[in-house]
């Protein structure tokens, strides 16, 4: 069997911690009850497990367990938060929303869908370091603005938004504030008792829990209301119907318990690894860091290697599991929309790689990655006409490029005439 590549894609997903998997298994076989069954011990045991998990998740983000609604993951949480709040408050308050161009597609596409239903939206461009410009946000707020959605940690470049300042601004104006925190749990401290946030989305599988489970925080003080998006048996106080997947909920609870207990120590270790990686990669000529290095989670590094195309670099480093752009968009040929939004020109956006370090990353993994990237970037640059031009002192922005396909089409059209 071929050796498995070194995994440096923890922002795409994480393995389930074995301690988490162990806790989950009994809830598939012996303790399989439906927590909605009130008439027997199977149901009571399942309900107890769900309550414990809810407390564990609440403890990591310091909220009341009653403020959490189980969902199938952050995508559903984002949908429920944005559509639920827009539909509930829209008719009275207004039909304008504000979000940021670098949000995850689960937010952007949800807002787009609401635009199709008659809402209007402003998509803010972040500053070059990836952060939201508060003055621009202030200027975008209208009397009919009903909701603002800004992610806590960006999935591609790992920058941490100032949700306190954004939230305070929203509170002043009576606007519902949603935060997608899928990439944040276990990476940054979240204290919902203090944060001016109304709705916050969580996912288990980015924090060593199972896929297919997440939660939405719905503030009780001040009380935030939502229109349900999933109708049925009235589970989760009517916010989200559907039989609770107890084993996954138990997994999310245990994963978040471990995160709370170990995050301080783990983040210090991960930061050292990430810094070691950047120390190695920044020595490569024409390598650029994307996003702010300080206002950033410890496990993320996003680097553009100029004059090398990202997909071919990924192919060259197939012994590393990394992403070019985000995992959701890497099947398309478009350069990363996040990097374009922070003002990276197309060349650099095309040549980016996201490294994300995690719980099981070792120093050896990092050193292996540095050496592999160094050697492959060198090989691909030897192959790159752009590198030759750069070395010859040609400013690529002054070259007038012939786009092959177009010239070809023109030639065909000419031939047809």
């Amino acid at each position: 069997m071929e050796r498995q590549p070194v995994y440096l894609d923890y922002s795409a997903t994480t393995p389930v911690d074995p301690r988490v998997a162990e806790k989950m298994i009994p809830y598939l076989t012996q303790l399989f009850g439906n927590p909605a069954s009130r008439s027997h011990a199977y149901g009571w045991d399942a309900e107890k497990a769900v309550d414990t998990a809810r407390e564990q998740v609440a403890a990591l983000v310091n909220c009341d367990p009653k403020e959490l609604v189980w969902t199938s993951g952050a995508t559903e949480s984002n949908n429920l938060a944005i559509k639920g709040a827009a539909n509930f408050y829209g008719p009275a308050k207004g039909k304008h929303m504000i979000t940021v161009k670098t949000e995850h597609k689960a937010v952007l596409d949800t807002v787009r869908e609401l635009e199709r239903q008659g809402f209007s939206a402003t998509y803010l461009s972040p500053m070059e370091n990836g952060l939201v410009n508060l003055d621009e946000l202030k200027a975008a707020i209208r009397p009919d603005t009903v909701l603002v959605s800004v992610m806590l940690v960006n999935n591609e470049i790992g920058v941490i938004q100032d949700v306190v300042a954004i939230g305070n601004l929203c509170r002043e104006k009576g606007i519902i504030f949603h935060v997608d925190a899928a990439q944040a749990t276990g990476k940054v401290d979240i204290d919902l008792a203090k944060l001016p946030v109304d709705l916050m989305s969580f996912s288990a599988h980015k924090t060593y829990g199972p896929k297919g489970i997440g939660a939405l925080y719905v503030s009780r003080k001040p009380r935030v209301r939502l229109e349900a998006q999933m109708h049925g048996g009235g589970h989760e106080r009517g916010f989200r119907s559907g039989t609770l997947p107890v084993h996954q909920i138990v997994g999310m609870g245990e994963a978040f318990r471990i995160a709370k207990e170990e995050m301080a120590e783990e983040n210090a270790r991960i930061r050292a690894l990430r810094d070691r990686l950047w120390a190695g990669l920044s020595g490569i000529e024409e390598a650029y860091l994307n996003g702010d290095l300080e206002q950033r989670v410890p496990h993320n590094l996003n680097v553009s290697f100029n004059f090398v195309e990202g997909e071919s670099l990924m192919m060259a480093v197939k012994d590393l599991a990394v992403s070019s752009g985000s995992a959701c968009t890497s099947a398309s040929l478009e350069p990363s929309y996040v990097l374009k939004a922070i003002g990276r020109e197309d060349e650099l956006a095309h040549s980016s790689i996201r490294f994300s370090v995690g719980r099981y990353t070792t120093e050896q993994d990092i050193d292996f990655a540095i050496n592999l990237i160094k050697s492959k970037v060198g090989i691909l640059r030897d192959l790159s006409p752009l590198w030759d031009m750069f070395k010859a002192g040609i400013d690529l922005s002054t070259v007038s490029w012939v786009h092959g396909t177009e010239s070809h089409r023109e030639a065909e059209t000419a031939a047809a005439h």
Binding site: F307, V308, E309, E311, S312, M315, A331, L333, P335, E345, D346, E347, H350, D382, L383, S384, P385, L386, W387, D388, L396, W401, V402, H403, G404, T405, S407, H408, A411
Partner: protein
């Protein structure tokens, strides 16, 4: 994305990487694509006096399929006359490499590179021939 063995082979062991002197009379250079689109191909041909492509070299910035397409093209070109070379179509390249639909544009770009290189060679030599002829009566 799953690549065919042929793409992987050309990508991992690219044939005929390099450059000829662009100024040489027997060299035709085609550079197509744009960095903003994620691929740029530079294809060069060296043409003998009797109009046969003796050698070809490439440099490509782009995805694995773009690199493989240009590498394959340099192999296909050798030994062909310029007219035969113009018969190479992107569909031949795409079939040979079993390119997935999203990568067909790489083969189109490779075909464009062939045309651009031949056009460059011809314009260079036609002008030169014309100049030579123009001098002839005076000699």
């Amino acid at each position: 994305m799953a690549y065919s063995d042929k793409v992987l082979d050309h990508y991992e062991n690219p044939r005929n990487v390099g450059s000829f002197d662009q100024e040489d009379q027997d060299v035709g250079t085609g550079m197509v694509g744009a960095p903003a689109c994620g691929d740029v191909m530079k294809l060069q041909i060296k043409v003998s006096d009797d109009g046969v492509i003796e050698d070809a070299k490439f440099k490509t910035y782009g995805c694995g399929s773009a690199i493989a397409s240009s590498s394959l093209v340099t192999e296909m070109l050798k030994g062909k006359t310029l007219d035969q070379a113009l018969d190479i179509k992107n569909t031949h390249i795409a079939e040979e490499l079993a390119l997935p639909p999203v990568k067909i544009h790489c083969s189109v770009l490779a075909e464009d590179a062939i045309r651009a290189a031949i056009t460059d060679y011809r314009s260079k030599n036609e002008t030169e021939t014309a100049g030579y002829d123009a001098c002839k009566p005076a000699a």
